[in-house]
């Protein structure tokens, strides 16, 4: 890769960063606007989480360069995601058993 190719590559990245920035700003406004609709709790939680996941994915993929990362990093993250959801699942399991809910 020549120096001019490299510079063009970085310029392309910078344009993507600005596009992602605009998308994140729009999605922030969308998040707040949706909360004003006072949707039922289950629907509100779902919509808010979907928008947050989209925003988080944009940050991770483009700002953290996960879209073009090495396999080892993906392997570390897959393992992390598995344990993360196991952690989040613990309250659900205990809830279904009714173990901690007072009668």
């Amino acid at each position: 890769m020549t120096t001019s190719d490299h510079a063009a590559d970085i310029d392309k990245h910078v344009r993507i960063y600005i596009t992602v920035f605009v998308a994140l700003m729009v999605l922030t406004i969308v998040t707040v606007a949706i909360s004003r609709l006072h949707l039922p709790v289950h629907l509100a939680v779902t919509v808010a989480l979907v928008v947050a996941v989209v925003k988080g994915s944009l940050v991770a993929c483009y700002f953290m360069h996960l879209i073009s990362e090495k396999k080892l990093i993906y392997a570390v993250l897959v393992l992390t995601v598995v344990f993360f959801f196991a952690l989040l699942g613990l309250p659900v399991i205990t809830h279904e058993n009714g173990y901690w809910i007072p009668e």
Partner: protein
Amino acid sequence: MEIPYTVELRRDTGLNNGKIGIWLFLASEVMLFGALFASYILIRTGATSWPRGDTILNVPLATFNTIVLISSSVTMVMAWASLMRHRFGTFRLYMGATVALGGVFLVVKYFEYSHKFHDHLFPSTNNFLAIYFTLTGLHMLHVMGGMAVNAYFWGPGAKLWKTNPEWFTNRVENSGLFWHFVDLVWIFLFPTLYLL
């Protein structure tokens, strides 16, 4: 003793050691915040009633802080891109802006906390405030840590640029990964605590 694989890639991992190190650290951070989010779900679903965040917390201030933190993520990645283009002066501007935006975030948070304390709302008041102060307090500590590292690279740490620019660029990329993670956590904290 020279630190190995700061710039050159290891043949087995295909990465420099700094990169794999920061990602392993971030994996542990995901578990730390994951445990607290799991606690939040447990406490909230087990409560007979739970307040909407916007009835207690200041949504406009938090929205402003979200915009501040997202902007700081952009300036951070632009600081790294400036080094990739060998524009050290531009790097300094963007890195300075990143640290300053982190400072703005903390000042806003200070006003939010002060207002709560003034109204006699403390972590011990109820479960909602307990989880609010724990999650946002831990997040604030991360903002402070990120600011300290970024300020170091903006100031005295920037000397490395003269002797080993590639290593310096990698270090800035790694501190950027941490900073983006802090932004990512806030992206989930904001709707969870303030809007639902």
